[in-house]
């Protein structure tokens, strides 16, 4: 117990557990493919090279896809259009949701009602309709796709954050800060936020997966990435019909998204355990060898 914990230590502690290590490894793997992939493509991802759904072989490791382009090239080139957008949109959605959820849960009263009912309205609109509404207002673009994802995530994250906040705000250390008359914003940032970050982190990992799904469907409708450029979401949709002839154009993007999800969930789980102190001893409590008796000794 020599090390001095610092603000960032939970991230490192999480990375030191098996769970966290495996999670980071999986996320890193997918991220590397997405970011470095465009530099490594064997063929042009947009060139027509043969018959649609040709099986692997003859220089095409994963065969060809629905119009006869190289699957491997499109997989390597397709991550960059979806991963950064998904990550940024998830972070923004979780941040916005956490802000509204925590402030509504902590302040309560009319503010709580107004915020949560407004978010309920947003929640009631089907996701695709919401996105189409935005398109009709502003025209199709990746920025718009990102905005739609943020608006889809925020209400749901807000609900999770609010529930966790209601629990945390009942704790005595919050009452202590209130008795000192600390400003509410400070109490929310220092007392509430660190103690609701566990459920928020787990939620973020799940939300990252949903983001990829949503971006993929919007791309499928032609609202994001424009053909002929590839992305993993669109590939899954485009190539469904040929899955009997050449499964790889569907299987590989699906596997990459799944691996990313599993990795992100594992790391988020390790992180929430590290912050909750669960991984410390059988009883969950690590008692430090400090003398109890003091002057009575």
């Amino acid at each position: 117990m020599k090390w001095r914990p610092s603000r960032s230590s939970a991230w490192f502690r999480a990375a030191r557990t098996t769970r966290g290590r495996v999670g980071l490894l999986l996320v890193g793997l997918v991220a590397a493919i997405a970011l470095l992939g465009p530099l490594l493509t064997p063929d042009s991802p947009t060139a027509l090279l043969g018959v649609p759904f040709a099986r692997p072989g003859s220089g095409h490791l994963l065969g060809l896809e629905y119009v006869g382009r190289d699957t491997l090239a499109r997989v390597l080139d397709g991550g960059i259009r979806i991963l950064p957008l998904a990550a940024i949109a998830t972070a923004a959605g979780v941040g916005l949701g956490a802000f509204f959820g925590i402030s509504a849960g902590y302040r309560g009263g009319a503010y709580d009602e107004i915020v949560m009912r407004t978010l309920d309205v947003l929640l009631a609109v089907p996701q695709i309709i919401l996105a189409l509404l935005l398109v009709s207002l502003a025209g199709a673009s990746p920025l718009l796709v990102g905005t739609a994802v943020v608006l889809i995530h925020a209400p749901q994250v807000a609900r999770v954050a609010r529930a966790a906040t209601l629990r945390a705000a009942r704790e005595d250390f919050v009452k202590y800060s209130q008795a000192l008359s600390d400003p509410p914003l400070r109490i929310m940032l220092t007392d509430v936020l660190p103690n609701v970050s566990g459920p928020l982190l787990v939620e973020s990992a799940l939300r990252l997966t949903y983001s990829i799904g949503i971006i993929a469907s919007l791309n499928f409708l032609g609202l994001g990435t424009r053909p002929p450029f590839p992305d993993w979401g669109a590939m899954i949709n485009e190539n469904r019909i040929g899955i009997g002839q050449n499964p790889w154009p569907v299987v590989v993007p699906v596997a990459l998204v799944a691996v990313l999800t599993i990795g992100a969930s594992l790391y988020a789980d390790a992180l929430s355990r590290a912050t909750a102190g669960i991984e410390l001893g059988a009883e969950g409590v690590l008692v430090a060898p400090v003398d109890e008796g003091g002057r009575d000794a």
């Binding site: 117990m1 001095r4 914990p5 704790e171 005595d172 250390f173 009452k175 202590y176 800060s177 209130q178 008795a179 000192l180 008359s181 600390d182 220092t190 007392d191 660190p194 103690n195 912050t275 102190g277 410390l280 001893g281 059988a282 009883e283 409590v285 690590l286 008692v287 430090a288 060898p289 400090v290 003398d291 109890e292 008796g293 003091g294 002057r295 009575d296 000794a297």
Partner: protein, 597 residues
């Protein structure tokens, strides 16, 4: 197994499955039919682990490695899976600490009780089931209260819930009932009723009871035999009248000196240090590092049981050499006692009414606290004592009436008070596990109030505050979960002291702590009072009053029913409520303990 024995445990070892570290090592005990064995020890000593092993069960992460548990001639540990499940509840049953979490909140208690019976006796006819259920209700002192069965758990009082839980344990007529601190969450008067029920059951049902508790007074009033555990081993066992009167193990002696008693005015003595974690238990006698009598052999050789008298065993190399002294009483007599009736009290509360969302909780409460004195506010849960404390602290704004500090009126809630007033009144919460933000280091926790100090204050306030509560500066970089309960409560007290308060409000501050740690905290608080701090000490335990308070008010149903100087009130209670609280208080009838006659 000899006749008349209900339970025989031999050489039981329970270990952490991942590391093989023993949590309970080599424990043997036996219990005759119709007897109560009190299993005593402080948190982390392995008593609950041992109790669960009596059901052939080990908590997640633990494993029963060896030994045998024979109940009514059946070796429980030789059974597996389904066979074991069939016997649990029929041969041996369990009453958990918290009945509210043991009963399913969504089902009527009658259905839950009937299920417990029919899962083991599927052949019973409806009238037979009914007769057994009513019989079980009668056994737990709820005769002719059949209507209770149609209620949901939340519609019952805590005492009723615990009796239903005991009835569930009883309904299959097991040979052994294991009770894990079943009265810890109850009021003293309710506790007295439940204890009566348990005595009655042992007498009439021929069931043996293992009663796990940290409360020596409760055990002494209930158990025929007592087994005291320390760090996973037996420390001392024997007839409770003998062990608790003439303990021969220094640990047991220390525990007895830490038990508060309403009848004796003395300062409580704690045991220095803390019990070791399973992985950090020393070689030799595990108690040696905290023992004032330890000699070389204690640190190297595991002590064998020494027969002090017939049936009285002590696992100590120096058995019988620890004596309970009366030194502490002299200590108390010399303690400074400032005079009451000063010209102006520090705190004057008059005609305070408080309510929760329209429901009145306090009606016309008036109290005064003189400088340098401690006022104890005593009452059962629901009497309004915590609401009173919170109203004074500015944490409960729904109140009216006047609260004057130093002649100045205090605002109803914290933001309505001046900085100086907020500093002057500091509040220590009941549960040190909830009052410290688990995500901040002790340093950051103690730095939080610094912002509210006027500029140009003391130098090095953190170390000074830690010093006043006898904590080393090394705790500064730890997180709350890395400290023991007693250490956390000291941190909470240190956090209050940083603001140099005039009035410290202590709300049941020791109720979450072990009795030996409680004694240490009580001494600390009394030392602070002698340094000039005034105190409002809220407690449900009248036994704590003599060791801290000069004045006392007793509350019931939101009103003050009695007030006066503590010794007078405790010796000659004038209200029936005080008398009832005193009568229900379990007493440790220990000869010569801390100088008590």
């Amino acid at each position: 197994m000899p006749d008349g024995l209900a339970v025989q445990v031999t050489d039981l070892v329970v270990e952490i499955s991942a590391t093989g570290t023993p949590v309970v090592s080599g424990v043997s005990l036996q219990l005759a039919v119709g007897q109560v064995l009190g299993l005593v020890g402080e948190s982390g000593c392995g008593k609950t682990t041992l109790a669960l092993a009596l059901l052939g069960y080990a908590r997640r992460g633990l494993r029963i490695r060896s030994g045998s548990v024979a109940i009514g001639g059946t070796d429980l540990l030789s059974l597996r899976g389904h066979e074991l499940e069939r016997l649990r509840g029929r041969l041996v049953s369990y009453v958990p600490q918290d009945p509210a979490s043991a009963l399913n909140p969504g089902r009527r208690v009658g259905i839950q009780l009937r299920e417990t019976l029919t899962v083991h006796h599927s052949g019973l006819s409806a009238p037979e089931v009914r007769a057994r259920l009513l019989g079980a209700l009668a056994d737990v002192g709820l005769a002719r209260q059949e209507s209770l069965l149609r209620r949901f758990p939340h519609q019952l009082s805590g005492g009723q819930q615990q009796r239903i839980a005991i009835a569930m344990a009883l309904v299959n007529r097991p040979a052994l009932i294991v009770m894990d601190e079943p009265t810890t969450g109850l009021d003293v008067t309710t506790q007295a009723h439940v204890l009566d029920t348990i005595r009655e059951i042992c007498r009439t049902q021929n069931a043996a009871v293992v009663y796990v508790s940290h409360d020596l007074a409760v055990v002494s009033s209930l158990a025929n035999n007592v087994a005291v555990m320390y760090a996973g081993r037996m420390a001392e066992s024997g007839p409770s009248a003998v062990v608790l009167r003439r303990p021969s193990h220094p640990y047991v002696t220390g525990l007895i000196r830490a038990v508060p008693d309403a009848a004796a005015r003395h300062r409580l003595t704690g045991i220095p240090g803390q019990a070791p974690e399973p992985a950090a238990r020393p070689s030799g006698c595990a108690f040696a590092p905290r023992c004032s009598l330890a000699i070389d052999i204690c640190r190297t050789v595991d002590p064998p049981p020494v027969a002090v008298a017939d049936g009285h065993l002590s696992w100590c190399h120096r058995a019988g050499q620890a004596r309970v002294t009366s030194q502490d009483e002299a200590d108390a007599a010399s303690a400074a006692q400032p005079e009451a009736d000063g010209p102006e009290p520090l705190l004057l509360v008059s005609n305070l009414n408080a309510w929760y969302g329209g429901t009145p909780v306090l009606a016309g409460v008036s109290i005064r606290i003189e400088r340098g004195r401690c006022l104890a506010v005593v009452g059962e849960s629901g009497s309004g004592k915590t609401t009173l404390a919170r109203a004074i602290a500015g944490l409960h704004r729904e109140h009216d009436g006047t609260v004057m500090l130093d002649g100045q009126p205090l605002g109803r809630s914290a933001p309505q008070r001046t900085d100086r007033q907020r500093r002057a009144v500091q509040y220590i919460f009941q549960n040190p596990y909830g009052s410290l933000n688990p995500r901040r280091t002790i340093r950051r926790i103690l730095e939080q109030p610094l912002r509210h100090l006027p500029p140009g204050g003391q130098r090095d306030p953190l170390t000074r505050a830690l010093d006043r509560v006898s904590l080393p500066a090394t705790v500064l970089d730890r997180y709350p979960h890395q400290l023991s309960g007693g250490q956390r409560q000291r941190v909470a007290i240190a956090r209050a002291l940083i603001l140099e308060p005039e009035l410290l409000i202590c709300d049941e501050v020791t109720s979450a702590l072990d009795v030996s740690v409680q004694a240490v905290i009580m001494r600390l608080l009394d030392d602070l009072r002698q340094q000039g701090l005034s105190m409002l000490f809220v407690t449900h335990n009248l036994g704590l009053v003599p060791s801290i308070a000069q004045d006392v008010v007793v509350m019931a149903s939101g009103q003050v029913v009695e007030s006066g100087q503590a010794p007078a009130v405790l010796a000659r209670p004038s209200s029936p409520e005080t008398a009832a609280l005193l009568a229900a208080l379990p007493r440790l009838e220990a000869e010569g303990a801390a100088g008590r006659p």
